[in-house]
Structure formats: C-alpha cells, structure tokens
Symmetry: C3
Subunit: 394 residues, 3 copies
C-alpha cells in the first residue's frame, strides 16, 4: 500500500469497523428467569400501558368548537304586577343569543313604571335615619340604590330613611315568587348545534351525526338510553341528570354545564368519533359561604310615556344559565411520540443487566468464578494484570 493514501485507507478501515461487546453467557435458571421476567414486564408495559391504555403512540390536538342553540316552548307566568302573561322565546331568552351559552328566565321580580326621581332608600342599618344630619348629600353606597340627597324622609309610618335620587319606586326583591313564575320551563326543549374541528388533523364533525335524518330530528328528545345522539334536550332532563331538582333551581336560578366531550381516537373510523354529553351544576347549590345563591341579573325595558318622560320596567331575572362546554382531545398515530415512548422503554432494558449482574455476583454460589470471567481489573499503579483477575480470560 502506498504511503500517500494511508490516511484515507485508515478512515475506510475505521468506517467499516463494527464494534460489538464481548459477552459472557451464563446458563443459570434463576438468573435467566429473572432476566426474562424483567424483559417481559418492560415489553408488556410498553405494549399494554403506553400503547393500549395511554395511546402513547399518538399525537394529540385540542378541539375548536362553535355552538348555536335554539330553545322552544311557551309558558304562562302569573305575576302580581302584570297579570297572567304568556312568555315565549323572545321574552325569556336574555340576551336573545350568546356564544356557547343560553339563559332561560324562570323567575323574576318586576318593578314597572320606574322614573328618575327621588324616593326614600330601602331601610337597612346604614340608611335608617332620624334627621337630615344622618344623610350625606351626594353620597352613594356601592350596595345602595341611588345617590343620597341629604334629606331624611318617611319610608313608612314608622321608619325614616335617607332620600335618594334613583329610578323610583325602588325594587323590593325580598319576596321571590315560589314556585317559580315559569315553572313550566321544565318542558322547554333546546336544540344544540355544535360543530367541531381538530385543526392539526384537518378533521371536522357536527353533533348532528350523518345517520340522523330530518324527520327523526323533528320528534326526538335526548335520552341517554333510547336517543343518545339526539341533539334536542328537555331542560328538566338536563337538570335531573345533574342530580338537581328543576323546580327548586328555577326559583333562585343557577348555572348548569352541558359538557360535550369530543375525545376521539382518529386512528379508528370517523364514525366512532361521536360526542358524549354530560350535565353538571356549575354553581354551588347550598354551601355555607353562599352570597346571593343561584343566578340572577337585572335588565330593564325602556319606554317613553306620552309626556316624553323616560320610564322603565326593571326586571330582576332569575333563571338557569346553560353553559355549553365543549372539550376533548383527538389522537392520531405519529412517529415522534411513538419513538419517544418506545425509546424510553428501551433504555429501561439496560437496567435489566444491572439487576441480573447484581444477582449473579452476589447470590450465585459460583459468583467468584463468574466475576473472574466478567471482569479484568487493571490498576494504574501496577504494571501487569493481577493474577486473579486474569483467570477468567485465559
């Protein structure tokens, strides 16, 4: 060989070299069994737990969702102020549409014909007064109803309270109708249209499944057993399945969650990716620390009377706010998580040797003999190999 290409030839030689560890093969039932058992448990962990149960071979994506809802039903409300009234969708859904939720009015306190004027505050320790000096003109209690004028006026024959500028007469919200005014709301139905998307997998689906036809949709109502894919829900069924009583909840209002779980294994057929509905009460029913239990808010309808004076009807609306909460993760086979999981498991296989070596060199009767075969000890301070340590390699 010419000297000139010595470097190249040395590289070639190195390139085609294959290094393989020299091993000691021990025929021993005990150690062999331990060895195979640990190997088997690692392999079964990878196959069983990571792949089958946790689906560690999948890449995941979170759901993107769009929800529209449509409530149907009419109810008779008998209010002392307004008399018997029929209430339909335009009356009891407030505001008329929301994203991902809808509010159904079930009870209310109506204060009609409010105008901007002055009237005595509602009596409570901080508003009851005996003379004008107890009231401060311009003072506004954040939990009061208006701005004080500084006068102390008769609230009733026996009580005097500070006068306020406010929408008068003030709302008195102590007598909440019981049973709820719209007790019949339990029979209302809601159609929930939900379309979802997993952007990473370019997967779209709706909760109105392909096999559902129009005539079925016109008459069906969701039932966990008989109609689990019908997207039309009776309000009472929702509340009942969450373990609550509709009539009790209707009085004070509350927040219900309609949870739609779109967890899907996209390695399977698309047909098997179907929504799972569940229902939960989201506010706390009767805890010890409940201020203003239930759910309510105030809104007003504004009018002008014939003298062009602004009047309003104030409504304190109690009702059930239904939050449609869509969640879920889709998984699909992907190289990276698969290899990461298998790779991590493989590195545990190297632990098998650590355990078995320990057994071999500690418990077996021939441990010294095996040790001599396995190890060569060299000491930097000695010139030659020690006699004993060389034994196994001779």
């Amino acid at each position: 060989m010419a000297r000139g290409n010595g470097c190249c030839s040395s590289f070639c030689k190195c390139f085609f070299e294959y290094e393989t560890p020299r091993v000691l093969v021990i025929q021993n039932k005990c150690v062999g069994t331990i060895n195979r058992l640990i190997q088997a448990s690692i392999v079964s962990y990878v196959i069983g737990y990571v792949c089958v149960i946790q689906q560690g071979y999948q890449d995941t994506d979170s759901v993107i969702s769009s929800v529209t809802t449509k409530v149907k039903g009419t109810a008779l409300a008998n209010t002392s102020d307004l008399g018997v009234q029929v209430m339909d969708v335009a009356d009891y859904i407030i505001p008329p549409q929301m994203e991902n939720s809808f509010f159904v009015l079930t009870n209310m306190i109506v204060t009609p014909n409010q105008t901007q004027t002055t009237c005595p505050e509602l009596p409570n320790p901080s508003t009851i007064c005996t003379s004008d000096s107890d009231c401060t003109a311009g003072f506004s209690n954040p939990r009061g109803n208006g701005i004080q004028t500084g006068k102390c006026v008769n609230y009733s024959d026996t009580i005097k309270t500070c006068e306020v500028v406010a929408w008068c007469p003030l709302e008195i919200d102590t007598n909440l109708p019981k049973p709820a005014l719209l007790a019949e709301a339990e029979n209302f139905t809601v159609l929930i249209k939900n379309s979802i998307r997993y952007p990473k997998f370019n997967f779209n689906k709706r909760n109105i499944l392909p096999h559902i036809n129009s005539s079925y949709l016109k008459r069906c109502t969701f039932d966990r057993v008989t109609d689990p894919h019908c997207p039309i829900f009776r309000l009472k069924d929702i509340v009942t399945e969450a373990g609550e009583d509709f009539q009790t909840m209707a009085v004070n209002g509350g927040v219900m969650g309609i949870l739609i779980d779109w967890s899907c294994d996209l390695d399977l057929s698309e047909k098997r990716c179907i929504p799972k509905y569940s229902f939960r009460r989201l506010d706390n029913k009767n805890p010890t620390n409940n201020v203003a239990p239930g759910y309510n808010f105030r809104f007003a309808k504004y009018y002008k009377d014939c003298d062009d004076i602004d009047t309003r009807t104030l409504i304190k609306a109690y009702g059930i706010c239904f939050d449609v909460i869509v969640f879920g993760k889709a998984g699909k086979f992907d190289m990276v998580p698969t290899l990461v999981n298998i790779g991590a498991a493989l590195s545990f296989l190297s632990l098998v040797n650590a355990v078995c070596d320990w057994v071999v060199l500690t418990f077996l009767s021939k441990r010294d003999y095996y040790s001599k075969l396995k190890f060569i000890h060299v000491d930097e301070n000695e010139d030659t190999l020690s006699e004993g340590t060389m034994y196994g390699t001779q």
Copy 2:
C-alpha cells in the same frame, strides 16, 4: 494497609473504578456498512424529523386571546310591514356586543303590534280542530305558540284551530323574503382587534401589527394577496373565501368561522409571529338531515301604547353569526423536551448492535469464529468452561 480504614479505602477504590465493556472489533465491509447506515438513519431522524419538522426541542404553550369587533355600514331594507328602512349598526348587530363573535342581521320576519291576548293557533295536524273537545285548556305544546284556552275557533273561513293565549297576532314565518332584506350587508366591513398572550413565555401581541399605521388602517381592506395583514374584512370576502355565496347565505342565515391561527416559533424573531386568517362555514349548508337550516333567533322590541298596554314587535332575525376562533401553539426551546427526544433516539442506537450482531452471527462465513470470540458460555452444571467456548478467549 491498616485494617481500620479498609472500608473507606475499599469505597475509594470502587469510586475511582471505571468499567468499560470489552469489545470485539470486526473489520467487515458488509456489517460495517449496515452499522453505519442504521446509525446514520437514526441521527438523521433526530436531526431531520424531530428537530427540524416536529421541533421536538421546544416546549409549547396554548394561546390566550381577547377579541373585539366593530362592524361598519348601512343598508336599505324594504319590509312589507315597516316600509323602506335604513338599518345601521345599532339595528343589525344583535346583541350590540358579544365576546369573540358578532351577528349581522341579513333577513327578518317582523310581526308588529303583538299584544297578550287570544287568537287561533297556526294550523298544523295537532292544532286543527272541529269542536272545543279537540282542545285542552291549559295545554302547551312545546313547539306551539301559546297556551290553549280549550276553545276551537276559526283560523280562516275553512280551517278551525285551537285558540291560544299568546302574543297575538301570531308570527307567520313561512314567507321568508328572497332576496334577503339586507342584501347590501355584503359590503359591510368589520374591524377585528385581537390581542393574544402566551403566558408561559410572557409573550403578547396584537393582530394590528407594529408596521401598520393609522392612515393605512383607515382605507385598507383585507386581501389575501395585496393586504394580508389588514384587520378590516369585507363580509362578502369572508363568505366568498369560505366557498359560499353571500346572497344565498343571507336569506337563511348561517354561521361563519373567522379562524385566526397564531402558531408561532418564538425561537425566531418576534416579527415573524403573525396571525394567519382563514374562513370556514361552520354550520352545515345543505345536508340531508338539516332541521331549520341556517341560523336565526327571535327577539322583541317592547313598547307601551298610550293606554299603557304592553305591545311588542317580534323579529325573527336571520343572519350570519361570525365566530372569531383564535387558536395556536407557540414553541420555544426548552431542555426537557430536547433531552427527552434525543435520549429516546439514543436508546435506539442500542438497537443497531442487535441488528448487526444478528447479521454477524447468522450470515457471515466466519460466524462460528466470531461467535467464539464474542461469547464465553458457562453452564451452572459444569465445573469448568467448555473447551469450545473458551477458544475465542485464549
């Protein structure tokens, strides 16, 4: 060596020991090539797929977003009930603001001057009657319009239906205006302000990019080619890019998704983290199973007439609900995923040996010779090493 510090010295000896496997180096072009090929493919997988394509060295965070929208434009609506009307933002955006979405009214059925009284139900198989005995006082069909009084009255000269207490006259929603009343809504524009945050990386950005100045914003309209960063969208453009026809959609309404993708590689310059807009129709256009195709809801405007009687104008509003859906994941270099991915890949390198050993011990002509060099077999039942197995180690 003194016996007293024997334990310590033995620990020291053990501590400074370095164990390295003894290896057999085989010069063989075939095996060497296989060895290097597999190594190369694992290394290129790690560099190419995990790092470059999947960016496995990054930790990720999900986007947090806030959206406000502002629609501009006026349109002329010619309704039979109300005559020609100009409709501006306050009229056609209902409710006036929503989080993450906005509704543009494009068509409507107006039923003015409804009052609480009695009137015959709309005729359908369950409401048509011949005598009072066909109607049940107090019965309320969830899909009907009111509460039955128990009387059977003339709906028209030929048809009798059950009388209901309801907001009368009842809405007749069979004649939907075609073309849509607000056909001109296609020229409305919407300014979408979107600010996002990746909390894990403390990164904030808005969709109004820093290089966009005020005068540009006053005149620009989004165009995928010429103005891809202008946050002002013409409604028709949105619908058209989703492959739909605005005028068709305006008649029955629908749900459009304005998808803003904020996927960012935060290892790069912040400037390169820009939103990508796309548009999709989210409801199903013309499937076989479509009840109530499109999108509509009812709301009412409440009045008091001069006799203080509540009247309302019921509006069945058809329109396009635009959902602004913000999504995205940001990635930034992080030690943990990097090391997990490299570590997992490293453990695959140990598989190279398994493959090459198999080749060496099965296919090479000198396989027995190599085998004897690589292995020492010891059997627990034999006292000394078997002759043959010792060959390679002599």
Copy 3:
C-alpha cells in the same frame, strides 16, 4: 438426551441463558472521577430539573371554566341631552349578561329622538357637495350614515352635503364628554364567581374558597395583600393594578383582562390549589397605529311615539370591557411521563462510556495497554487474530 425433544431443550437452554457484557475495570483516579462526575450530573438533572422544577413526572390537563359576574353600584351622569340621571346596573351593563366578560359603560354620546327620514350627511371630503350632481341616489358609503338620495342640501349656512335617508338627526360623535360621564364607576364592585374543572383528574373547585364565609363575602374587597382570596373587585383597583388610570380609560373605553390562573399541582393538598388573579390591559393604549382608540359600540333604545312612529335613542357607548380569562394546567403524577423522562435520562448514561473511553484511549499513558485489553480486532481478510490485538486477552 433424546433427539425428539432437542428443539425444546434448545429453546429452554436459550431461554435460561443470561448474557452479560465482559468488562474491563480500570482503576484510575482521573477517569473514575470523570465517570462519576458525568453520572452525577445526569442524575442530578433528572432529579433536580425534570422532577423538581419541570415536574416531568406529571400528566397535565387543561382547565374548563365557567364564569358569572355581578356588578354593583350606582352613579350620577350629567348629560346635556338627558339632564342629571342616576344610572344603575340595568343601565350601564350592556348586554345585561355575557359569558366570561362584562361591559361597564363609563361614557356615552346620546342622540335622542331619531326617526327614519332624510337629513344632510355629516360633512367630510366625500360628502360635501355643491350641486345634486355630486351625489348619487342609492349610494351608500360603508363608512357613512345612510343611503344617499341624490340631493345636495344645506348642512349649515356655509356647507352643503349630500342628503341621506337615515335615522335622523345624525349622531355627532366629535365631542366626547371629558371627564367621563360615569366617572364614579371607579367605585363599582364586581363579584366574580368562577368554577373550574379538570376533567382528566375529575377535580372541581370554585374561586370562592371553602374557608370564606358569607359575612366575610358581604364586606370584603380584593386586595393583593390583605384580602387575596376575596372574589369581589373594585373596578378602580383592577385598572390601577394593570398600571392604568381609571379616569383616562373611562373617557375612551378599553379592554381589561382579569386573568385567573388555576395552575395546580394536584399531587399536593387540594387546599393549595387556589386561583391567582392578575390584571392586564388588553387593547393598546396609545400606539402610533391606533384607529378608534379605546372601546365603544352603538346600541339603540326603540320607542313608538303617540302617532305610532318608530323613534329611537342612539347611544354610542364607551366603556371598559372586562374579559375574565381563566387558564391553567393541572399536573398529577402519572407513570407514562415519569418513565419517559427517566428513560430518556438513562440513555444519556450510555454517553458516559463514550466520553470516558475517549479519555482512556487518548490521554492515559497506558492507553495502548488498555486498548489491547479492551479490543480484539478481527479482519475478514485474515485467517487468525493478529498477534498484537490478541495480547490483551491472553
């Protein structure tokens, strides 16, 4: 041994075989120290960084949340059009409820008594005209207020503009009240009820913590130091903590984020899973590229006058939109991520050998000696082992 069960016996033999690499143990302080140092750093990385800091042993889940809000307070607004007015919750919260956010009106431009008629457009370069020929009947500028009639009429004594069909008189929004009409809104308080759920771990919690009692809730206000768990926030405190001035923000409006971070380590006690509140301004305060700074929208109150003509009061509402943004990840011990992280770290241990081998075979004075002990070189082209390479194994 009978020949019949040779196969079986061979399998058994193979099954109970245990392969362990033969190793060379080098007693060398330098290499031993390097070896132990690298091992120690890998182990401390796994324990310190992956486990303690990054909690790599945990599986994570994203939060699902439901928010309701209730604002309290009244304020006096002195508008030129409507005189002094008390405004309460029903007046300044628009719409009366939203999911995850609430809008507090702080300033407004009121245009009362608009009716559908014709009036001159507001003067701007594109609407100013000198004769009817400058105006196009039926033309509607998307940024204008109505549909042009084609006439050119007097806007004032000196200016003529195109006439439009619109809700007239047109809104003039150039004189924004300063200070804001509802300057007192800074003292309003808001109660935020937030219930969250981690579905993967079946964990539910509310931001009203169990130890908070009803009487505390009636009087407390959030304060980062003294009352960090009180869910009642004073609006001014929110804005101030975000580094903004409430009065400045109230004039033009804006968007505030109330961020609730529910990041929890569910391996610890449930009691330690508590919400962390923070506040940020989400819109851009004073950038160079700000069209329509702040936040506003228009809505109308509709009336019928005594002649049954529709009139409306148009309100351009400026205010602060508070977005309640709930985020967080919960972690809980899980086998898969634990094993993946440890496994990946283990495979780095194999790198230790690579480094130490390189040291041993390159820098140690006895490198040739060690090399001969470690390696057997065989060449496919040679019949027997080369003399030198066999040295170490003799």
